[in-house]
């Protein structure tokens, strides 16, 4: 909030989503692919099967080109993007989990070096050493997931950390283990889906059938593990979070639709994987492409759901998506939001409309653009002055609900009982709220026409 504001027409959340979803598609393959390649080469050595060896070799080039280049750089890309869009939240996460990230970095060194070594040592070292390298790679890659999951899950379900502030309480939070299981399943199913393409390049028909079936087994096991993990993850969420997308009357229809979409995508993926398992001879490229797209749809849908389910927070029950902390609501109501958000007022005028624009930039611009994603102009168009006044008054009063909320490791602020459960409360002085009202009214077409 007190950082410069990056005005992005598409919305910062969309950009984070694009970068993050693209990255996780690749990074989870990098983990599951490591396991699949390790198992494939192990079987190849034990059985003396050249087709399995070739499959592992073909896949290893894809692994380094995707994992060490795209995966590594897009991973940094998530950091870069969240630092640009949510700097206060990024700073809070860094201060809490720097040692967690640093530990993940340790595994990352091992992961990158062994990936490069594995590809470079085909036909150079003995099979035993080559297998050791790929198993070390998988160990490192999986451990990086085990660590990063703690930080990701913390943002949605910080658990006892809210009371203790302890690294470990936040890390081993309620949705940590379900997430590990879910992501492990995703790693397996993505590995099977990607490597099916390498298996289909095998020219010998009998060998191709064997390879396709092996990859189908990865996909089926992965889909079942992912489904179990997903259900466990949902069960671990607090009622306030689940009420956004599940139940009879979900608060956010779009998020509820995402949940339905991802579950159907997983079912479609499972059907295609079972088909490949039972009739591997009939597996073809187009079917494999549909399977991969279904896997992407499931995983992308899950990531969108997980991100969306944090609303109105960026760190549940601690920091709102606009960077305001629950602990500073009262203080900001006293001294004003603009006392803290120096950049929001930068370049604006001192009149009520100008100050209102500054309040908007400080509190609303992290989600709403002017005319693009969640464009505020279109949202205020059907609202008259009295109605807008009522909305802003309620949103400001809701701040008190957060302040009086009680936290335990199971209970959370009961956002589902609020009128605007997916939006942060409005904070600031009465004068600032009035200024915001003036600014929003000035956006209406009639007002704009009158000024002209």
């Amino acid at each position: 909030m007190d950082y410069p504001i990056w005005d992005l027409a598409m919305g910062g959340g969309i950009l984070i989503g694009l970068v993050a979803i693209t990255h996780v598609w690749v990074s989870h393959f990098a983990i599951g692919g490591g396991l699949a390649i390790a198992i494939t080469e192990t079987l190849a050595v034990r059985r003396g099967d050249p087709a399995l060896r070739e499959l592992a070799k073909r896949s290893s080039l894809m692994l380094i080109l995707i994992s060490t280049v795209f995966g590594a750089i897009s991973g940094v890309g998530i950091w870069v993007t969240i630092g640009l869009v949510q700097p206060a939240a990024t700073s809070a996460l860094i201060h809490t989990y720097v040692w967690g990230w640093a530990s993940e970095w340790g595994f990352f060194i091992l992961e990158i070096v062994t990936a490069l070594l594995y590809y470079a040592t085909w036909e150079k070292v003995r099979p035993r050493t080559h297998l050791l390298i790929i198993w070390l790679y998988f160990f490192a890659a999986f451990m990086s997931l085990v660590i990063i999951q703690g930080i990701l899950a913390f943002m949605l379900t910080p658990g006892r950390w809210l009371e203790t502030g302890s690294f470990w309480d936040g890390f081993f939070n309620p949705s940590y283990l379900p997430g590990v299981v879910l992501r492990t399943g995703i790693c397996l199913l993505l590995a099977g889906a990607y490597m099916t393409f390498a298996a289909l390049r095998e020219r010998d028909a009998a060998a191709r059938t064997r390879l396709v079936r092996l990859m189908a087994a990865f996909q089926v096991i992965g889909a079942l593990v992912a489904y179990g993990g997903y259900r466990w993850w949902e069960a671990a969420l607090p009622v306030s979070v689940k009420s956004l997308f599940a139940g009879e009357k979900p608060i956010l229809a779009a998020l509820s639709g995402t949940r339905t979409f991802l579950l159907w995508s997983l079912l479609a993926f499972l059907v295609i994987a079972l088909f490949a398992l039972l009739a591997p001879k009939a597996q073809r490229w187009p079917i494999a492409v549909v399977g991969l797209l279904a896997a992407f749809a499931f995983f992308g849908g899950y990531e969108r759901l997980r991100e969306g389910a944090r609303k109105p927070f960026v760190i549940r029950d601690h920091m709102f998506s606009n960077g305001v902390l629950i602990s500073e609501i009262e203080s900001l109501n006293q001294r004003g939001i603009l006392a803290k958000a120096g950049w929001a007022a930068f370049g604006t005028t001192a009149d009520p409309v100008g100050r209102g624009r500054a309040v908007f930039r400080a509190q609303c611009a992290s989600c709403h653009t002017l005319d693009g994603y969640l464009g505020i102009r279109a949202l205020v168009e059907p609202v008259d002055a009295d109605m807008l006044n009522g909305i802003l008054t309620i949103m400001r009063e809701e701040g008190a609900e957060y302040v009086s909320g009680r936290y335990t490791h199971k209970g959370h602020v009961a956002t589902e009982n609020l009128d605007y459960p997916h939006m942060p409360p409005l904070v600031g002085t009465e004068e600032e709220v009035e200024a915001l009202h003036s600014y929003l009214m000035s956006l209406k077409a009639a007002q704009v026409a009158a000024v002209r």
Partner: protein, 366 residues
């Protein structure tokens, strides 16, 4: 006005003592920079080296093969200093990056394109063709990244320039130290890569490699390092004198803490120049070539210390009254140390096994 634009200190306590973050930052940044220099300088030297020239193809092959590893390692070792720096100076760093958001984000695009172009060049050379345009484009990508990094680095240290840059992003390039600082970076990269090339060529020749092509590679490396070091000395003084007066004065009054690393760095640079000028036939002077490489690494370490001190001086006025609370997370810190030692140990073990393990006669390879 300026102070009003500096974000407040993060309310969360530092999870470890500041000196530890500074130390980890410096150590990991040094390793990162050694890889970065190889990527930037190596790609420039590969692009500038005519393929038709004796040893030209070998020089290009050497750098694109090495860089298919070092780019990954530069990215990997860039993560840690970025992490530790954000703990200490996040509010300055995030602000600077947001002000030039598209450039900061674009850096990743350039990095990815540069990396894939290096692979294209590598596979072209392996197929018997020339690296051609891809190596030139990769060099441009890496130069672009260097320029963005330098601009952001300068911007995060100078909150007084933020409002100007908020009005126009191009103002980020208007700093009087931008050009000498960028040159300083590029020339150091070229010097180090030249010395690396010469050292590797001398070793290869010593192990029975082709004397003619290795000799040509070594001479090219030494000449590149010599020219870059001569220019570096001039540029170094330009950079020093272009510093804001207050920073320069504080630096000169910093006593042994600031003057010793700087003086040693300048002396090391002069020593390098003398050593390089004395190398007429690198293959016949292997010890001297090795000394050049060692001295260059030493100089870079000293300059990193100086760079760190200059940052502190730039920011000193904006950090007065900063009340940093420390609440060390001992358990998490222990976890990091254990994981780090374990992973580095396993990495070294894997590398050594990969280098030493070879199938016996009649035994099958992987």
């Amino acid at each position: 006005m300026t102070e009003n634009l500096i974000p407040a200190l993060d309310p969360a306590p530092l999870p470890g003592p500041p000196w530890l973050f500074h130390l980890l930052w410096l150590v990991t940044f040094t390793v990162h920079l050694l890889f970065v220099n190889t990527v930037l300088g190596g790609t420039l030297l590969a692009a500038l080296c005519p393929a038709a020239r004796k040893g030209g193809r070998e020089t290009r092959t050497f750098f694109v093969e090495v860089n298919s590893w070092t780019i990954s390692l530069a990215v990997t070792f860039g993560i840690a200093p970025l992490l530790f720096m954000q703990v200490l100076f996040g509010r300055f760093f995030y602000s600077a990056t947001i002000l030039v958001a598209w450039a900061w984000l674009g850096l990743l695009g350039l990095l990815m394109v540069g990396y894939y172009l290096n692979y294209v060049a590598k596979f072209r050379l392996r197929a018997g063709r020339d690296a051609g345009l891809p190596i030139w484009l990769a060099a441009l990508c890496f130069l672009g990244i260097a320029a963005i990094q330098v601009a952001i680095n300068l911007l995060h240290m100078q909150p007084g320039r933020w409002s100007e840059v908020a009005a126009s992003g191009w103002a980020a390039l208007a700093d009087p130290t931008f050009v000498p600082r960028l040159l300083h970076f590029v020339l150091a990269a070229v010097s180090m890569s030249g010395a690396l090339l010469a050292w590797v060529a001398v070793r290869r020749a010593g192990r029975g490699g082709d004397a003619e092509s290795n000799g040509a590679m070594a001479r090219y490396g030494v000449r590149a390092a010599l020219i870059a070091t001569v220019l570096q000395l001039a540029d170094g003084f330009w950079l020093l004198l272009a510093l804001p007066e207050g920073v320069l004065r504080a630096f000169m009054r910093g006593g042994a803490a600031t003057m010793v690393p700087l003086t040693l760095g300048i002396l090391a640079g002069l020593g390098l120049l003398v050593l390089l000028a004395q190398i007429h036939d690198p293959l016949a002077q292997p010890t001297r070539v090795r000394r050049v490489a060692e001295l260059l690494v030493g100089t870079i370490v000293l300059m990193i210390v100086t760079r760190h001190q200059v940052r502190d001086l730039y920011l000193a006025a904006h950090r007065t009254g900063e009340q940093v609370v420390v609440a060390t997370q001992w358990g998490a810190l222990a976890l990091f140390l254990v994981v780090f030692v374990l992973c580095v140990g396993l990495t070294v073990y894997a590398v050594v096994r990969a280098v030493k393990d070879r199938p016996a006669q009649g035994e099958q390879a992987a």
